[in-house]
Symmetry: C2
Subunit: 114 residues, 2 copies
């Protein structure tokens, strides 16, 4: 899980690799279609694809001379879970602080009334 | 936005930095409290904190000799939005494929009945 999150977050820290993920949400694509919008040499582009493959985000299948890439959304679900968990812990703490502030206000008002 | 996502995802690609975020969801903490569970030299730990600060995830306030760190959850919300958007595009596509498969099945059944 830790290794997966390391590789997943590292994979998404690059705009080319995020653009590849965005492209593949629309469906599988050949390497040449995926590479077309990116102004870089093919070996450089292939390195980005390899990083996504190692992170489990992309699967590549070769049929004849065409390599087709598919998105695997499982790591997206795992990482979204981690982020959502941190947010919920943080927001729960803020809610407790709000409740504490309200309780203190109510106590102060009731003391003022006495 | 792109720069923010680059820095945010790079910041979270390291287990020490994720542990710092997890620690801070419970509330602000001094640098020494934050560093205590991590078996590394303080300068190395400070480098991790700097990465989190540059990514906008941590704010540090110095009062006298104590540095207190706070979590800023804004980048968590931004990154969660990006991931949720990719998932929804991907799941919408899968739903369309399911509907297409059902429509083809229904067409085949109706052809078989004739």
């Amino acid at each position: 899980m830790t290794m997966h999150l390391n590789q997943f977050f590292a994979a998404l820290s690059d705009p080319t690799r995020r653009a590849i993920v965005e492209h593949l949400t629309a469906g599988p694509a050949s390497v040449s279609d995926l590479a077309a919008p990116h102004p870089m040499a093919l070996p450089t582009f292939m390195k980005h694809l390899k990083v996504l493959e190692r992170a489990g985000l992309v699967q590549t299948i070769k049929k004849g001379r065409v390599r087709t890439c598919h998105l695997d959304a499982t790591p997206l679900v795992t990482a979204q879970g981690w982020i959502a968990w941190q947010r919920s812990l943080w927001e729960t703490r803020l809610d407790h602080l709000d409740q504490l502030a309200l309780a203190l206000d109510a106590e102060k008002e009731s003391a003022d009334d006495r």
